[in-house]
Symmetry: C2
Subunit: 292 residues, 2 copies
C-alpha cells in the first residue's frame, strides 16, 4: 500500500534513512541506533541496591517500591538512588548501558548477593524486589496471577499514554489532530478499564496493595490527579470516580510521598531530592521546607 | 502550551469528545470506553487450558509457548484454542471481558486447578505457564532476572512497533511523515538493541531459549523475516545480522511452526488452523497441504 499517494502528499521512501532530528521535546535524545556514546563508569554507594534513575513515572514506580519496602520493615531494601539526567545523555554512558542495554531509566544493580545482578525495565525491577523480599506480590496462586495480569497491563498500555498521547498532545512540535485523537481515545479507554476494575476493588488486584498499584499509579493515578501533560481537563479525568478515589488514597501514603521526591528535578525545590542515600535525606528536605 | 497555535492549524479543544471514528484500519474496533458491548458466553473445551486468541504477534507468543511445552514433554499443557475475531468485536463479548477487562487477545482461562483462574496480557500468560510447568524461566537467581528483563523489555517496547510504527506506516488512512519518522527511528533502535544483545548470545537471555524469546520473536523476529507491515526493505532488516540468525533459528523449530498456525485467519489456507483442540489437528492440516 505504500506506493499509493496519500492525502498528505508524503510517500515513504523505499528505505528509511536517518536524515534529520525529528524535532520536538526529547528530539535530541532519540536515535535509531543503540549502544553507548561515551565511556563513563557509574558511581556506587554503600547500600545493597544501586538505583540509576530519574523521577519520571517509570522511575517513581521503583522509588515508591523501595520506600514501601522500607516502611514495611524490610531493612535489607536500603538503596542509593543516583540521578540520570536523560536530557544530558547520561543513559548513553557505557556504565549505564552495561546495566540497561536499552538506555532507559530506571536501571538497578542488585549487589545484595555474591555477584552483582543487573535489573532493567521497571516491571522487571518490581518483580525482582517483590520476590527478593516476599512483599507486594503473592508467592503463588490466583492472587499472584491477578497482580501480574495488571502489572503486565501497565507495561503494555502506558506506551500509548506516554509515547503516544503525551508526545503528540504535549511534546511534538506540531499538533497532529489524527494522532492526538487516536491516542486520546486509547488513553480514555484505558482510564475506563481501570475505573471499572476499581469500582469494586480497593486496589488494582484486590484488597491488598501490590506492585500492580506501584506500576499503574505513577502513570494513571498521577494523570487522574492532573499532574501529567496538563491534560486533566482535556481528558476529563474527574469523571473516572473510582480511579480518583484510588489515586488519592495512594497519593496520601507517606512512602509514596517520599518515593515521588527521589531523583526529582522539577517542581518545588523542597520536593526535589536529586540523590537519595539515607532515610535522613528526606528529613533534611522537610526541614528545608519548614524553614523555606 | 496548548493555546499556542501550531503549524498544522489544529488547536485541541479544552475537553476532548468522541465525535467521529478516527479512521484507518481497525478504526471500527477502537473506542474511548471499556466494558462489554453484548452478552456472549465463551465456549469451553475438554483441556485444562482454554485459550481465546488470534494469530497476531501477541497471540502467537502463547500458542508457541503451549506447543513448546508440549514438545518438551509437559503433557499437562494440553489446550483448546478458540478463535476471537477482533474485526467482528468478539473481544467485547461479556464472557471475554470477564477474562480480560482490557478486551485484547490473548486471554486464557486456566482450569487445571480447583478454581478457574483468569490470565490476561501475553506476558502474564507466559509467566503463569512458565511457573506452572517449571519451564523456559529459571525459578530463581540472575538467570531468572535476565529472562524477566527481556520479557518486560518486549512488553514496553512493542507498542512503539505495533501501535506506533505499524499503525502509521501501514494502517493509518493518511501517511504522516512526522509520525512515521518518529516510530521508524524507535523501531530501528529497538532492532539494534536486540542485535547487540544477540551478538554474543544464542538466545535473548543466554544459552537457553526462554519466554523472552517466545515474547520477542513473534514481533521482532517476524519483522526481521519481512513478515510484518511489508516493511522489511523500509527498515533495512537484513542489516541486523544477529537478529537474522536468531530469527531463523527460532522460525525453524517445529513447535514454533505449529504455534504460528493456531488461530490464524490469513495467509495460505493450509497454514490456517482456526481452532486447535488436539495435536492431530496439525496433522490434518499437513495432510491438506500434501494433497492440496
Amino acid at each position: 500500500m505504500n506506493d499509493m499517494p496519500s492525502d498528505s502528499g508524503y510517500v515513504p521512501p523505499k528505505v528509511w534513512t536517518w536524515e534529520k532530528p525529528s524535532g520536538g521535546h526529547f528530539a535530541s535524545i532519540n536515535r535509531p541506533i543503540a549502544g553507548p556514546t561515551h565511556e563513563k563508569a557509574l558511581p556506587v554507594g554503600k547500600h545493597p541496591f544501586q538505583l540509576y534513575s530519574l523521577a519520571t513515572p517509570n522511575g517513581v514506580k521503583v522509588t515508591v517500591m523501595f520506600e514501601e519496602l522500607l516502611a514495611a520493615g524490610h531493612t535489607g531494601a536500603e538503596y542509593d538512588a543516583w540521578l540520570i539526567r536523560i536530557g544530558d545523555g547520561d543513559q548513553f554512558g557505557s556504565g549505564f548501558v552495561d546495566i540497561n542495554p536499552n538506555s532507559k531509566i530506571p536501571a538497578l544493580m542488585d549487589r545484595s548477593g555474591p555477584e552483582p545482578v543487573r535489573v532493567f525495565e521497571s516491571g522487571s525491577i518490581l518483580v525482582h524486589l517483590a520476590e527478593k523480599f516476599g512483599a507486594f506480590l503473592p508467592a503463588s496462586g490466583p492472587a499472584r496471577t491477578e497482580v501480574l495480569n495488571w502489572l503486565f497491563w501497565q507495561m503494555g498500555s502506558a506506551p500509548y499514554l506516554g509515547g503516544g498521547f503525551g508526545h503528540f498532545y504535549a511534546y511534538a512540535p506540531v499538533k497532529i489532530e489524527y494522532a492526538i485523537d487516536r491516542f486520546t481515545m486509547e488513553t480514555k479507554r484505558q482510564l475506563d478499564v481501570l475505573n471499572r476494575n476499581l469500582a469494586d476493588r480497593r486496589f488494582m488486584a484486590g484488597d491488598e496493595i501490590s506492585i500492580a498499584d506501584f506500576a499503574i499509579w505513577p502513570w494513571y493515578g498521577q494523570l487522574a490527579l492532573g499532574r501529567q501533560y496538563g491534560a486533566g481537563e482535556f481528558l476529563d479525568v474527574e469523571t473516572y470516580e473510582h480511579v480518583q478515589r484510588w489515586a488519592k488514597e495512594i497519593d496520601a501514603r507517606p512512602a509514596v510521598k517520599r518515593g515521588r521526591m527521589v531523583n526529582r528535578t522539577f517542581g518545588e525545590p523542597s520536593e526535589q531530592l536529586h540523590e537519595r542515600h539515607d532515610a535522613s535525606d528526606f528529613e533534611t528536605k522537610t526541614q528545608d521546607k519548614l524553614e523555606g
